[in-house]
Symmetry: C2
Subunit: 406 residues, 2 copies
């Protein structure tokens, strides 16, 4: 049963809908009579160690609904990865505040931290419910059909490439858009959601699930440019060579790593600049432009999939319900696709997702490794939301007969 | 009177609402009984020279409405700047097709091209109506209170910085966002539209209207970081030193110029990378990130100011009406703010805008040259549209009392 004081925190990279999950947990937990207080830890597990808690039981529902619609982690986030000493500090604080349930909204790294906490709690004989609530724009958590945050980020990427397609038709040239995604290419692949008319962008998509060969890339770009007089490319920031070396490290002077040992890929335009420089020098084509979508794709205000909003809210609600009704002490809420298109939620073991990475299935990637399959499009479409704006074009058949025949 | 065959074209950089103006011209022109055909030139004036016309009289209203809602130039665009020979070619084609009115939707460079055409038409005794319809995300056309395209791009920038503010609060550090704008800082200044709570981003705004001093910049960033534990900066791509040398040229190996002699500023992440590198080395702060908003800010699907949509449509409609009812052969449609908030449209002389650049008034920029004034906020607010999403935050006053007093 969910009772006493419960604690909720947010970890890892923010998403457009992570506050929906937060508010789902808060409002649902507050419904259980045994729950006296819902605390929120500021900046993830680092807030526990520092005793930085907000009493969310004193928030109005109207304000919580406003927060739910606000992108990024309302409680703040952290990249901290706890070791044994860190976990002892956490337990000390949880015990002092008599907290029996800890909801942690996060991705792979956050679920891994929660797994360590849950294991230590068992070996310490400390009765702590550890409930993981999934979120990640990378969409790389196993077991889940997809993860909250991905659909809205995918909608951003698809909307961006839809606009870029129009821009590139108006002023022709080559365009390279670099999309977030270290190991999993789902978000980059979502660029394919921009496709409407024949010949629409993106014409080429490069994913971290395949090795990136510069010569093949240049050949692909040339071929598309000769056919369409233009070329729009979606590239994952995590593309790497056959040996697994990220393409971006071939350029960067300083390689920055986070607490999890991950190389910094975002927050720099280096990869797009590297690729556009190579295209210019190898093809002689002049108008070559590159953009790095950066932090906009996970935080942009007002670009949200309504499907994602609803599901992000539901995983929060379900977490509170599982915590109350399940016999199992710890677990993770997982999303499963049923029918077309519906979802069900399960309470799965944390070990099934913790620290693990799901990448795109082979059936989602085309044979040449430079695009996606219709199967992926079927997977993606319902996630983008119910009201993706449509684009139109002037009918190219209404050509006026030339008089001077120039 | 508007009669016979009329021609419409789009020039310069696309905007989110430039097709509203196009459709405004088409539908309004089609209402005049004397108008037999409305032609569209593909890729601006280059389409005239090549006789690449579409007969827009054969478009359905429903499809035109779909095109109106689609970002970027539906007819395609061009950066061509016509010289005397180019203009002669244009006249040859216009005469062959018996076109008496030419509507050109564009910014400074396009209006300048139209001015040259209009002058040559007069000296050639060729009766040609040349009607300029304003658009530019740079908002730098004189006479106009603002230009169609700017409000939607401003909304994009404000929405981006609203999300970035949330992201930067969740995972603290320094963030630099580079916004389009060569000579005029309006679009960068629109980042201030993200401001909601005290302490919200952007904390610093650097505009091309002021000289950019690296030492002052670093000092500003340090000061904000010490106060808030974080710092979000909006920087115009056109920032330059005291001598007027763009900061970006201090880094770039190859300086690319377009047909108008403009240095390429967009389509590369170089400036953001330069600034974040300097911040890292001069402050020792580790988490420093930079994004270049690039082409997304003028083409993103689904981020449109409803005020901008309506006005962009109206300048197209008014162009057709001025062409029909005015005694003057050529002119430009200009937007004038009246009351709070309403606009009126005038038919002004092309010379008042052609090739000229308006920059931000001194009263819009703060004394230190690193932010905007309340007067600018009053100017900006109604342009962003009627339904800018609000953000919420958890009440920081509901702190839980520490027990361990860590």
């Amino acid at each position: 049963m969910l009772q006493g004081k419960v604690l909720v925190a947010q970890g890892g990279g923010p998403t457009a809908v992570i506050n929906q999950s937060l508010v789902g947990v808060i409002l649902e937990s507050r419904k259980f009579a045994g729950v006296k207080h819902v605390y929120g830890s500021l900046h993830g597990i680092s807030g526990i160690v520092n005793e930085d808690f907000l009493d969310l039981t004193q928030e109005t529902t109207a304000n919580l609904e406003l927060v739910a619609g606000t992108p990024c982690s309302g409680l703040g986030s952290t990249r901290d990865k706890p070791n044994t000493k860190y976990c002892r500090e956490i337990f000390k604080v949880l015990k002092a505040h008599e907290i029996g349930t800890f909801f942690y909204i996060g991705g792979n790294d956050s679920s891994d931290a929660l797994k360590i906490l849950a294991e230590m709690a068992v070996s310490d004989n400390y009765e702590l419910r550890c409930i993981h609530i999934p979120k990640t724009i990378d969409n790389d958590l196993p077991v889940n059909d997809h993860t909250p945050g991905f659909p809205s980020a995918a909608r951003f990427v698809a909307s961006a490439f839809t606009g870029i397609n129009q821009d590139n038709m108006a002023l022709k040239g080559i365009y390279v858009g670099v999309v977030m995604g270290r190991h999993a290419g789902f978000l980059t692949a979502a660029a394919a959601g921009a496709h409407s008319f024949d010949g629409d962008a993106p014409h080429l998509i490069y994913l971290p699930e395949r090795s990136f060969e510069m010569n093949q890339f240049i050949g692909d770009v040339k071929r598309v440019y000769e056919k369409h007089g233009r070329c729009v490319v979606a590239v994952s920031e995590g593309i790497h060579d056959k040996k697994g070396t990220p393409i971006i490290t071939k350029l960067s002077k300083i390689v920055e790593k986070d607490a999890h040992g991950n190389i910094q890929l975002s927050g720099t335009g280096a990869l797009a600049d590297l690729l556009t420089d190579v295209i210019k020098s190898k093809t002689g084509i002049l108008r070559v432009r590159g953009d790095t979508f950066g932090y906009l794709q996970r935080s942009f205000l007002g670009c949200v999939s309504d499907v994602d909003q609803r599901e992000a809210r539901e995983v929060g609600e379900k977490a509170a319900q599982f915590a109350n009704f399940s016999d199992r002490l710890s677990g993770t809420v997982t999303i499963h696709r049923v029918g077309n298109y519906q979802v069900e939620y399960c309470f799965s073991k944390i070990e099934t997702v913790a620290g693990l990475t799901k990448v795109m299935a082979d059936g989602f990637i085309n044979k040449l490794g430079n695009g996606v399959t219709p199967k992926f499009m079927d997977y993606l479409r319902p996630l983008l939301g119910s009201d993706m704006p449509r684009v139109g074009r002037l009918n190219p058949a209404n050509k006026v007969k030339k008089i001077l025949n120039k």
